[in-house]
Symmetry: D2
Subunit: 145 residues, 4 copies
Protein backbone atom coordinates (compact mmCIF):
# COMPACT_ATOMS: atom_id res chain seq x y z
CA UNK A 1 0.00 0.00 0.00
CA UNK A 2 1.64 3.21 -1.16
CA UNK A 3 -0.99 5.84 -0.34
CA UNK A 4 0.44 8.79 1.55
CA UNK A 5 -0.89 9.39 5.05
CA UNK A 6 -0.75 13.15 4.49
CA UNK A 7 -1.84 15.28 1.55
CA UNK A 8 0.49 17.74 -0.09
CA UNK A 9 -1.73 20.57 1.13
CA UNK A 10 -1.65 19.28 4.73
CA UNK A 11 2.15 19.04 4.50
CA UNK A 12 2.35 22.64 3.29
CA UNK A 13 0.13 23.62 6.22
CA UNK A 14 2.52 21.92 8.67
CA UNK A 15 5.31 24.03 7.14
CA UNK A 16 3.32 27.25 7.31
CA UNK A 17 2.39 26.56 10.93
CA UNK A 18 5.82 25.76 12.16
CA UNK A 19 8.64 26.01 9.63
CA UNK A 20 8.41 29.34 7.81
CA UNK A 21 11.75 28.89 6.06
CA UNK A 22 10.53 25.61 4.54
CA UNK A 23 7.16 27.08 3.64
CA UNK A 24 8.96 29.92 1.87
CA UNK A 25 10.85 27.58 -0.45
CA UNK A 26 9.21 27.63 -3.90
CA UNK A 27 9.19 23.86 -4.25
CA UNK A 28 6.87 21.80 -6.40
CA UNK A 29 5.69 18.30 -5.49
CA UNK A 30 6.27 15.67 -8.17
CA UNK A 31 5.63 12.50 -6.14
CA UNK A 32 3.99 12.13 -2.77
CA UNK A 33 3.61 8.43 -2.04
CA UNK A 34 4.00 6.51 1.18
CA UNK A 35 7.72 6.58 2.02
CA UNK A 36 8.69 8.12 -1.31
CA UNK A 37 8.72 11.83 -2.14
CA UNK A 38 10.08 13.78 -5.10
CA UNK A 39 10.36 17.57 -4.94
CA UNK A 40 11.56 20.10 -7.55
CA UNK A 41 13.13 23.39 -6.56
CA UNK A 42 14.15 26.17 -8.94
CA UNK A 43 17.35 27.88 -7.80
CA UNK A 44 18.60 31.26 -8.91
CA UNK A 45 21.23 33.87 -8.33
CA UNK A 46 20.70 34.43 -4.60
CA UNK A 47 21.59 30.83 -3.78
CA UNK A 48 24.96 30.97 -5.46
CA UNK A 49 28.32 30.66 -3.79
CA UNK A 50 31.88 30.68 -5.19
CA UNK A 51 31.92 29.13 -8.63
CA UNK A 52 28.25 30.08 -9.31
CA UNK A 53 27.06 26.95 -7.55
CA UNK A 54 23.99 26.41 -5.41
CA UNK A 55 24.95 26.82 -1.76
CA UNK A 56 25.26 23.94 0.68
CA UNK A 57 22.59 25.29 3.04
CA UNK A 58 20.07 25.33 0.19
CA UNK A 59 20.89 21.71 -0.67
CA UNK A 60 20.63 20.88 3.02
CA UNK A 61 17.24 22.57 3.40
CA UNK A 62 15.86 20.92 0.27
CA UNK A 63 17.08 17.49 1.41
CA UNK A 64 15.69 17.99 4.90
CA UNK A 65 12.35 19.05 3.45
CA UNK A 66 12.13 16.01 1.18
CA UNK A 67 12.90 13.49 3.93
CA UNK A 68 10.64 15.35 6.40
CA UNK A 69 7.85 15.02 3.82
CA UNK A 70 8.64 11.33 3.27
CA UNK A 71 8.38 10.78 7.02
CA UNK A 72 4.89 12.29 7.08
CA UNK A 73 3.73 10.30 4.07
CA UNK A 74 4.40 7.23 6.24
CA UNK A 75 3.38 8.48 9.70
CA UNK A 76 0.90 11.25 8.96
CA UNK A 77 1.22 14.86 10.16
CA UNK A 78 4.08 14.98 12.64
CA UNK A 79 5.10 18.60 13.21
CA UNK A 80 7.13 17.73 16.29
CA UNK A 81 9.47 15.26 14.55
CA UNK A 82 12.97 16.69 14.77
CA UNK A 83 16.12 15.99 12.80
CA UNK A 84 18.67 14.35 15.08
CA UNK A 85 21.45 13.74 12.57
CA UNK A 86 22.10 14.64 8.97
CA UNK A 87 24.98 13.55 6.79
CA UNK A 88 25.36 15.23 3.44
CA UNK A 89 27.78 14.50 0.65
CA UNK A 90 28.18 17.27 -1.86
CA UNK A 91 29.08 15.36 -4.99
CA UNK A 92 29.24 17.98 -7.72
CA UNK A 93 28.93 21.73 -7.76
CA UNK A 94 25.45 22.35 -9.14
CA UNK A 95 24.95 25.44 -11.26
CA UNK A 96 21.73 27.33 -10.66
CA UNK A 97 18.77 25.62 -12.29
CA UNK A 98 16.07 23.12 -11.42
CA UNK A 99 17.00 20.74 -8.60
CA UNK A 100 15.16 17.46 -8.08
CA UNK A 101 15.24 15.74 -4.68
CA UNK A 102 14.20 12.09 -4.42
CA UNK A 103 13.68 10.85 -0.86
CA UNK A 104 12.85 7.41 0.49
CA UNK A 105 12.66 5.97 3.97
CA UNK A 106 15.20 3.39 5.15
CA UNK A 107 13.60 2.78 8.53
CA UNK A 108 10.25 3.60 10.13
CA UNK A 109 10.85 2.91 13.79
CA UNK A 110 8.70 3.79 16.74
CA UNK A 111 11.31 6.26 17.92
CA UNK A 112 13.59 6.91 14.96
CA UNK A 113 12.88 7.34 11.28
CA UNK A 114 15.79 7.28 8.82
CA UNK A 115 15.61 8.42 5.22
CA UNK A 116 17.94 9.08 2.35
CA UNK A 117 17.69 11.59 -0.46
CA UNK A 118 19.49 12.09 -3.74
CA UNK A 119 19.53 15.52 -5.39
CA UNK A 120 20.03 15.86 -9.12
CA UNK A 121 20.12 18.90 -11.37
CA UNK A 122 17.62 18.59 -14.18
CA UNK A 123 19.29 18.34 -17.54
CA UNK A 124 22.65 17.23 -16.15
CA UNK A 125 23.77 13.70 -16.88
CA UNK A 126 26.85 13.74 -14.70
CA UNK A 127 25.19 12.09 -11.74
CA UNK A 128 23.68 13.39 -8.50
CA UNK A 129 24.86 16.68 -7.05
CA UNK A 130 24.18 15.74 -3.44
CA UNK A 131 23.18 12.80 -1.25
CA UNK A 132 21.97 12.89 2.33
CA UNK A 133 20.97 10.51 5.09
CA UNK A 134 18.80 11.98 7.82
CA UNK A 135 17.40 10.69 11.08
CA UNK A 136 14.30 12.07 12.78
CA UNK A 137 13.26 11.50 16.34
CA UNK A 138 9.54 10.91 16.63
CA UNK A 139 7.78 12.12 19.78
CA UNK A 140 6.72 9.28 22.09
CA UNK A 141 3.17 10.59 22.31
CA UNK A 142 2.65 10.84 18.59
CA UNK A 143 -0.85 10.21 17.38
CA UNK A 144 -0.58 10.14 13.62
CA UNK A 145 -3.74 11.18 11.79
CA UNK B 1 52.20 29.90 15.86
CA UNK B 2 48.52 30.79 16.02
CA UNK B 3 48.30 33.88 13.83
CA UNK B 4 45.50 33.64 11.29
CA UNK B 5 46.51 33.70 7.64
CA UNK B 6 43.44 35.79 6.82
CA UNK B 7 41.97 38.82 8.53
CA UNK B 8 38.33 38.94 9.56
CA UNK B 9 37.78 41.70 7.00
CA UNK B 10 39.35 39.63 4.20
CA UNK B 11 37.15 36.69 5.19
CA UNK B 12 34.06 38.89 5.02
CA UNK B 13 35.22 40.03 1.59
CA UNK B 14 35.48 36.41 0.40
CA UNK B 15 31.88 35.95 1.52
CA UNK B 16 30.66 39.13 -0.17
CA UNK B 17 32.44 38.16 -3.40
CA UNK B 18 31.15 34.66 -3.60
CA UNK B 19 28.77 33.56 -0.85
CA UNK B 20 26.05 36.18 -0.46
CA UNK B 21 24.00 34.02 1.91
CA UNK B 22 26.98 33.76 4.28
CA UNK B 23 27.77 37.44 3.95
CA UNK B 24 24.16 38.23 4.85
CA UNK B 25 24.36 36.38 8.17
CA UNK B 26 24.71 38.92 10.99
CA UNK B 27 27.54 37.05 12.69
CA UNK B 28 30.16 38.53 14.98
CA UNK B 29 33.72 37.23 15.22
CA UNK B 30 34.88 36.38 18.75
CA UNK B 31 38.07 34.44 17.93
CA UNK B 32 39.97 34.28 14.68
CA UNK B 33 43.18 32.35 15.29
CA UNK B 34 44.99 29.84 13.12
CA UNK B 35 42.79 26.72 13.03
CA UNK B 36 40.42 28.01 15.67
CA UNK B 37 37.40 30.26 15.07
CA UNK B 38 34.52 31.33 17.31
CA UNK B 39 31.49 33.07 15.84
CA UNK B 40 28.35 34.46 17.51
CA UNK B 41 25.04 34.65 15.70
CA UNK B 42 21.84 36.21 17.02
CA UNK B 43 18.77 34.24 15.94
CA UNK B 44 15.22 35.48 15.91
CA UNK B 45 11.70 34.63 14.89
CA UNK B 46 12.29 33.97 11.21
CA UNK B 47 14.63 31.09 11.94
CA UNK B 48 12.12 29.19 14.04
CA UNK B 49 10.58 25.85 13.26
CA UNK B 50 8.10 23.67 15.18
CA UNK B 51 8.63 24.10 18.90
CA UNK B 52 10.07 27.64 18.49
CA UNK B 53 13.52 26.25 17.84
CA UNK B 54 16.23 27.53 15.53
CA UNK B 55 15.99 25.67 12.23
CA UNK B 56 18.43 23.01 11.10
CA UNK B 57 19.48 24.92 7.97
CA UNK B 58 20.50 27.91 10.11
CA UNK B 59 22.59 25.66 12.36
CA UNK B 60 24.06 24.08 9.24
CA UNK B 61 24.94 27.42 7.67
CA UNK B 62 26.48 28.76 10.87
CA UNK B 63 28.55 25.57 11.30
CA UNK B 64 29.66 25.64 7.68
CA UNK B 65 30.66 29.28 8.01
CA UNK B 66 32.70 28.65 11.15
CA UNK B 67 34.65 25.73 9.69
CA UNK B 68 35.08 27.56 6.36
CA UNK B 69 36.57 30.45 8.32
CA UNK B 70 38.81 28.09 10.31
CA UNK B 71 40.09 26.63 7.04
CA UNK B 72 41.08 30.07 5.80
CA UNK B 73 42.78 31.00 9.07
CA UNK B 74 45.10 28.07 8.31
CA UNK B 75 45.41 28.26 4.52
CA UNK B 76 44.69 31.90 3.74
CA UNK B 77 41.94 33.14 1.38
CA UNK B 78 40.53 30.10 -0.40
CA UNK B 79 37.25 31.04 -2.07
CA UNK B 80 37.22 27.88 -4.19
CA UNK B 81 37.34 25.43 -1.28
CA UNK B 82 34.12 23.41 -1.35
CA UNK B 83 32.37 21.36 1.28
CA UNK B 84 32.45 17.71 0.27
CA UNK B 85 30.75 16.18 3.28
CA UNK B 86 29.01 17.47 6.36
CA UNK B 87 27.67 15.47 9.27
CA UNK B 88 25.53 17.29 11.79
CA UNK B 89 24.09 16.08 15.03
CA UNK B 90 21.25 18.17 16.40
CA UNK B 91 21.60 17.60 20.12
CA UNK B 92 19.01 19.88 21.68
CA UNK B 93 16.33 22.12 20.30
CA UNK B 94 17.75 25.61 20.68
CA UNK B 95 15.31 28.41 21.40
CA UNK B 96 15.97 31.66 19.56
CA UNK B 97 18.81 33.60 21.13
CA UNK B 98 22.54 34.03 20.76
CA UNK B 99 24.30 31.03 19.23
CA UNK B 100 28.05 30.50 19.62
CA UNK B 101 29.92 28.27 17.16
CA UNK B 102 33.41 27.06 18.07
CA UNK B 103 35.31 25.49 15.17
CA UNK B 104 38.70 23.80 15.05
CA UNK B 105 40.56 21.91 12.36
CA UNK B 106 41.18 18.17 12.69
CA UNK B 107 43.24 17.83 9.53
CA UNK B 108 44.97 20.26 7.17
CA UNK B 109 45.80 18.10 4.19
CA UNK B 110 46.99 19.15 0.80
CA UNK B 111 43.72 18.03 -0.73
CA UNK B 112 41.27 17.69 2.15
CA UNK B 113 40.70 19.82 5.23
CA UNK B 114 38.50 18.44 8.02
CA UNK B 115 37.09 20.49 10.87
CA UNK B 116 34.62 20.12 13.67
CA UNK B 117 32.35 22.66 15.27
CA UNK B 118 30.26 22.75 18.41
CA UNK B 119 27.32 25.14 18.67
CA UNK B 120 26.07 26.31 22.05
CA UNK B 121 23.28 28.67 23.01
CA UNK B 122 24.55 31.45 25.23
CA UNK B 123 23.09 31.28 28.70
CA UNK B 124 22.11 27.61 28.45
CA UNK B 125 23.98 25.13 30.60
CA UNK B 126 22.44 22.01 29.16
CA UNK B 127 25.29 21.32 26.75
CA UNK B 128 25.80 21.97 23.05
CA UNK B 129 22.83 22.29 20.72
CA UNK B 130 24.62 20.98 17.66
CA UNK B 131 27.88 19.39 16.56
CA UNK B 132 29.21 19.06 13.04
CA UNK B 133 32.15 17.55 11.20
CA UNK B 134 32.86 18.99 7.78
CA UNK B 135 35.31 18.19 5.00
CA UNK B 136 36.48 20.68 2.39
CA UNK B 137 38.22 19.89 -0.85
CA UNK B 138 41.02 22.31 -1.56
CA UNK B 139 41.75 23.16 -5.21
CA UNK B 140 45.01 21.60 -6.46
CA UNK B 141 46.25 24.93 -7.81
CA UNK B 142 45.67 26.82 -4.60
CA UNK B 143 48.09 29.61 -3.95
CA UNK B 144 47.24 30.79 -0.46
CA UNK B 145 48.02 34.44 0.20
CA UNK C 1 28.99 0.00 -20.38
CA UNK C 2 28.74 -2.06 -17.24
CA UNK C 3 31.75 -4.35 -17.51
CA UNK C 4 33.86 -4.30 -14.37
CA UNK C 5 37.43 -3.06 -14.74
CA UNK C 6 38.61 -5.67 -12.28
CA UNK C 7 37.84 -9.35 -11.97
CA UNK C 8 36.64 -10.89 -8.75
CA UNK C 9 39.88 -12.85 -8.55
CA UNK C 10 42.00 -9.72 -9.03
CA UNK C 11 40.00 -8.01 -6.29
CA UNK C 12 40.60 -10.92 -3.93
CA UNK C 13 44.30 -10.65 -4.78
CA UNK C 14 44.31 -6.96 -3.83
CA UNK C 15 42.82 -7.97 -0.48
CA UNK C 16 45.33 -10.78 0.07
CA UNK C 17 48.21 -8.47 -0.81
CA UNK C 18 47.24 -5.63 1.42
CA UNK C 19 44.10 -6.11 3.51
CA UNK C 20 44.33 -9.44 5.32
CA UNK C 21 41.25 -8.73 7.45
CA UNK C 22 39.17 -8.24 4.31
CA UNK C 23 40.68 -11.26 2.60
CA UNK C 24 39.80 -13.32 5.67
CA UNK C 25 36.09 -12.52 5.44
CA UNK C 26 34.25 -15.50 3.94
CA UNK C 27 32.27 -13.39 1.48
CA UNK C 28 30.77 -14.54 -1.79
CA UNK C 29 30.41 -12.32 -4.85
CA UNK C 30 26.89 -12.14 -6.30
CA UNK C 31 27.30 -9.17 -8.66
CA UNK C 32 30.47 -7.53 -9.89
CA UNK C 33 29.52 -4.94 -12.50
CA UNK C 34 30.95 -1.52 -13.16
CA UNK C 35 29.90 0.67 -10.20
CA UNK C 36 27.61 -1.97 -8.74
CA UNK C 37 28.63 -4.78 -6.41
CA UNK C 38 26.63 -7.27 -4.35
CA UNK C 39 28.34 -9.40 -1.70
CA UNK C 40 26.96 -12.09 0.62
CA UNK C 41 28.47 -12.80 4.02
CA UNK C 42 27.48 -15.58 6.39
CA UNK C 43 27.65 -14.46 10.03
CA UNK C 44 27.76 -16.68 13.05
CA UNK C 45 28.25 -16.76 16.77
CA UNK C 46 31.58 -14.97 16.98
CA UNK C 47 30.15 -11.79 15.45
CA UNK C 48 27.40 -11.43 18.00
CA UNK C 49 26.99 -8.63 20.51
CA UNK C 50 24.30 -7.95 23.16
CA UNK C 51 20.94 -9.18 21.92
CA UNK C 52 22.54 -11.82 19.65
CA UNK C 53 22.98 -9.32 16.87
CA UNK C 54 25.77 -9.01 14.33
CA UNK C 55 28.29 -6.48 15.62
CA UNK C 56 28.72 -2.99 14.21
CA UNK C 57 32.35 -3.55 13.22
CA UNK C 58 31.34 -6.54 11.09
CA UNK C 59 28.67 -4.47 9.35
CA UNK C 60 31.25 -1.72 8.90
CA UNK C 61 33.83 -4.04 7.41
CA UNK C 62 31.33 -5.66 5.06
CA UNK C 63 30.08 -2.24 3.89
CA UNK C 64 33.61 -0.96 3.42
CA UNK C 65 34.51 -4.04 1.44
CA UNK C 66 31.50 -3.71 -0.86
CA UNK C 67 32.12 -0.04 -1.68
CA UNK C 68 35.87 -0.65 -2.02
CA UNK C 69 35.03 -3.37 -4.56
CA UNK C 70 32.57 -1.06 -6.36
CA UNK C 71 35.32 1.55 -6.62
CA UNK C 72 37.63 -0.94 -8.31
CA UNK C 73 34.96 -2.14 -10.71
CA UNK C 74 34.95 1.45 -11.98
CA UNK C 75 38.62 2.43 -11.69
CA UNK C 76 40.45 -0.89 -11.86
CA UNK C 77 42.85 -2.23 -9.21
CA UNK C 78 43.49 0.57 -6.75
CA UNK C 79 45.11 -0.84 -3.62
CA UNK C 80 46.14 2.60 -2.38
CA UNK C 81 42.63 4.08 -2.32
CA UNK C 82 41.82 4.92 1.30
CA UNK C 83 38.57 5.53 3.09
CA UNK C 84 38.39 9.16 4.18
CA UNK C 85 34.93 9.19 5.72
CA UNK C 86 32.28 6.62 6.50
CA UNK C 87 28.79 7.22 7.83
CA UNK C 88 26.83 4.21 8.94
CA UNK C 89 23.26 3.97 10.10
CA UNK C 90 22.41 0.81 11.98
CA UNK C 91 18.74 0.40 11.20
CA UNK C 92 17.76 -2.89 12.77
CA UNK C 93 19.57 -5.39 14.94
CA UNK C 94 20.40 -8.21 12.57
CA UNK C 95 20.42 -11.70 14.00
CA UNK C 96 23.20 -13.95 12.80
CA UNK C 97 22.55 -15.25 9.30
CA UNK C 98 23.30 -14.39 5.71
CA UNK C 99 23.95 -10.70 5.11
CA UNK C 100 23.71 -9.16 1.65
CA UNK C 101 25.48 -5.88 0.88
CA UNK C 102 24.51 -3.95 -2.24
CA UNK C 103 26.90 -1.11 -3.13
CA UNK C 104 26.74 1.50 -5.87
CA UNK C 105 28.85 4.53 -6.65
CA UNK C 106 27.43 8.04 -6.26
CA UNK C 107 30.47 9.85 -7.60
CA UNK C 108 33.59 8.84 -9.52
CA UNK C 109 35.80 11.88 -9.22
CA UNK C 110 39.46 12.23 -10.06
CA UNK C 111 40.29 12.64 -6.40
CA UNK C 112 37.25 11.39 -4.48
CA UNK C 113 34.96 8.43 -5.03
CA UNK C 114 31.72 8.23 -3.04
CA UNK C 115 29.55 5.15 -2.74
CA UNK C 116 26.60 3.97 -0.76
CA UNK C 117 25.70 0.51 0.43
CA UNK C 118 22.60 -1.09 1.87
CA UNK C 119 22.88 -4.25 3.95
CA UNK C 120 19.94 -6.64 4.26
CA UNK C 121 19.57 -9.91 6.09
CA UNK C 122 18.43 -12.65 3.76
CA UNK C 123 14.98 -13.88 4.62
CA UNK C 124 13.99 -10.78 6.59
CA UNK C 125 11.32 -8.54 5.14
CA UNK C 126 11.60 -5.80 7.70
CA UNK C 127 13.87 -3.64 5.60
CA UNK C 128 17.62 -3.06 5.54
CA UNK C 129 19.71 -3.64 8.66
CA UNK C 130 22.34 -1.04 7.81
CA UNK C 131 23.14 1.73 5.36
CA UNK C 132 26.46 3.41 4.77
CA UNK C 133 27.96 6.19 2.69
CA UNK C 134 31.70 6.05 2.19
CA UNK C 135 34.26 8.29 0.56
CA UNK C 136 37.60 7.12 -0.79
CA UNK C 137 40.54 9.27 -1.68
CA UNK C 138 42.22 8.13 -4.88
CA UNK C 139 45.97 8.60 -5.19
CA UNK C 140 46.95 11.35 -7.65
CA UNK C 141 49.36 9.09 -9.47
CA UNK C 142 46.89 6.29 -9.99
CA UNK C 143 47.31 4.29 -13.13
CA UNK C 144 44.29 2.04 -13.23
CA UNK C 145 44.83 -1.20 -15.06
CA UNK D 1 30.64 15.19 39.72
CA UNK D 2 32.91 13.12 37.55
CA UNK D 3 32.75 9.70 39.21
CA UNK D 4 31.98 6.96 36.72
CA UNK D 5 28.76 5.02 37.26
CA UNK D 6 30.48 1.83 36.18
CA UNK D 7 33.83 0.36 37.10
CA UNK D 8 36.35 -0.71 34.50
CA UNK D 9 35.88 -4.29 35.63
CA UNK D 10 32.09 -4.11 35.30
CA UNK D 11 32.51 -2.65 31.82
CA UNK D 12 34.80 -5.50 30.85
CA UNK D 13 32.16 -7.89 32.19
CA UNK D 14 29.49 -6.29 29.98
CA UNK D 15 31.80 -6.92 27.02
CA UNK D 16 32.52 -10.51 28.00
CA UNK D 17 28.79 -11.18 28.48
CA UNK D 18 27.64 -9.73 25.23
CA UNK D 19 30.33 -8.36 22.94
CA UNK D 20 33.06 -10.97 22.54
CA UNK D 21 34.83 -9.02 19.78
CA UNK D 22 35.15 -6.01 22.09
CA UNK D 23 36.22 -8.15 25.02
CA UNK D 24 38.90 -9.69 22.83
CA UNK D 25 40.53 -6.35 22.06
CA UNK D 26 43.67 -5.96 24.18
CA UNK D 27 42.83 -2.42 25.28
CA UNK D 28 44.04 -0.69 28.42
CA UNK D 29 41.99 1.88 30.33
CA UNK D 30 43.75 5.19 30.95
CA UNK D 31 40.81 7.31 32.08
CA UNK D 32 37.38 6.21 33.18
CA UNK D 33 35.49 9.26 34.43
CA UNK D 34 31.87 10.22 34.05
CA UNK D 35 31.39 11.08 30.37
CA UNK D 36 35.08 10.91 29.57
CA UNK D 37 37.03 7.79 28.67
CA UNK D 38 40.55 7.25 27.34
CA UNK D 39 41.60 3.84 26.02
CA UNK D 40 44.94 2.63 24.64
CA UNK D 41 45.18 -0.14 22.07
CA UNK D 42 48.37 -1.72 20.75
CA UNK D 43 48.06 -2.59 17.06
CA UNK D 44 50.24 -4.96 15.13
CA UNK D 45 50.70 -6.70 11.84
CA UNK D 46 47.32 -8.39 11.59
CA UNK D 47 45.48 -5.06 11.57
CA UNK D 48 47.36 -3.68 8.61
CA UNK D 49 45.94 -2.79 5.23
CA UNK D 50 47.60 -1.38 2.08
CA UNK D 51 50.35 1.02 3.06
CA UNK D 52 50.98 -0.77 6.37
CA UNK D 53 48.27 1.22 8.08
CA UNK D 54 45.83 0.17 10.78
CA UNK D 55 42.57 -0.90 9.14
CA UNK D 56 39.39 1.13 9.22
CA UNK D 57 37.39 -1.59 11.00
CA UNK D 58 39.91 -1.60 13.86
CA UNK D 59 39.65 2.17 14.19
CA UNK D 60 35.88 1.82 14.07
CA UNK D 61 35.79 -0.85 16.75
CA UNK D 62 38.14 1.07 19.03
CA UNK D 63 36.07 4.26 18.61
CA UNK D 64 32.83 2.40 19.22
CA UNK D 65 34.28 0.81 22.32
CA UNK D 66 35.45 4.13 23.74
CA UNK D 67 32.12 5.91 23.26
CA UNK D 68 30.20 2.84 24.48
CA UNK D 69 32.34 2.96 27.64
CA UNK D 70 31.77 6.72 27.99
CA UNK D 71 28.02 6.12 27.78
CA UNK D 72 28.18 3.64 30.65
CA UNK D 73 30.31 5.92 32.80
CA UNK D 74 27.35 8.30 32.63
CA UNK D 75 24.38 5.91 32.69
CA UNK D 76 25.77 2.81 34.40
CA UNK D 77 25.80 -0.70 32.91
CA UNK D 78 23.71 -0.62 29.76
CA UNK D 79 24.36 -3.74 27.70
CA UNK D 80 21.33 -3.14 25.50
CA UNK D 81 22.36 0.29 24.26
CA UNK D 82 22.87 0.03 20.50
CA UNK D 83 24.76 2.20 18.06
CA UNK D 84 22.27 3.85 15.70
CA UNK D 85 24.66 5.96 13.65
CA UNK D 86 28.40 6.34 13.39
CA UNK D 87 30.35 8.83 11.32
CA UNK D 88 34.06 8.33 11.05
CA UNK D 89 36.67 10.51 9.43
CA UNK D 90 39.95 8.80 8.71
CA UNK D 91 42.39 11.68 8.91
CA UNK D 92 45.81 10.10 8.50
CA UNK D 93 47.00 6.61 7.78
CA UNK D 94 48.22 5.34 11.14
CA UNK D 95 51.15 2.97 11.11
CA UNK D 96 50.93 0.08 13.53
CA UNK D 97 51.69 1.16 17.07
CA UNK D 98 49.90 2.35 20.17
CA UNK D 99 46.56 4.02 19.47
CA UNK D 100 44.89 6.30 22.03
CA UNK D 101 41.15 6.95 21.84
CA UNK D 102 39.70 9.87 23.79
CA UNK D 103 35.90 9.85 24.02
CA UNK D 104 33.49 12.35 25.52
CA UNK D 105 29.73 12.64 25.53
CA UNK D 106 27.99 15.45 23.64
CA UNK D 107 24.48 14.57 24.75
CA UNK D 108 22.98 12.35 27.44
CA UNK D 109 19.33 12.18 26.46
CA UNK D 110 16.66 9.89 27.76
CA UNK D 111 16.51 8.12 24.43
CA UNK D 112 19.68 9.06 22.57
CA UNK D 113 23.26 9.45 23.74
CA UNK D 114 25.78 11.10 21.40
CA UNK D 115 29.52 11.01 21.86
CA UNK D 116 32.63 11.92 19.94
CA UNK D 117 36.05 10.33 19.96
CA UNK D 118 39.44 11.32 18.68
CA UNK D 119 42.08 8.67 17.97
CA UNK D 120 45.76 9.56 18.03
CA UNK D 121 48.85 7.44 17.51
CA UNK D 122 51.22 7.71 20.41
CA UNK D 123 54.46 9.38 19.45
CA UNK D 124 53.06 11.05 16.35
CA UNK D 125 52.72 14.82 16.36
CA UNK D 126 50.90 15.12 13.07
CA UNK D 127 47.45 15.31 14.61
CA UNK D 128 44.67 12.77 15.13
CA UNK D 129 44.40 9.72 12.87
CA UNK D 130 40.64 9.39 13.18
CA UNK D 131 37.59 11.15 14.55
CA UNK D 132 34.14 9.71 15.08
CA UNK D 133 30.70 10.80 16.23
CA UNK D 134 28.41 8.04 17.43
CA UNK D 135 24.82 7.87 18.57
CA UNK D 136 23.42 5.19 20.84
CA UNK D 137 19.78 4.40 21.41
CA UNK D 138 19.03 3.70 25.04
CA UNK D 139 16.31 1.17 25.84
CA UNK D 140 13.16 2.79 27.25
CA UNK D 141 13.08 0.40 30.18
CA UNK D 142 16.65 1.01 31.22
CA UNK D 143 17.28 0.82 34.93
CA UNK D 144 20.84 2.03 35.30
CA UNK D 145 22.65 0.67 38.31
Amino acid sequence: MTTSRITEEAFRQVLRDGMPSGAAMPFEVVTFERGHVVLRLPTGKDHLRPGDTVSGPVLFELSDLAVYAALMTALGPMPQAVTTDATMHFLRRPRAGMLVARARLLKEGRRLVVGEVTVDREGDDGGPVAHAVMTYSVPPDRAPA
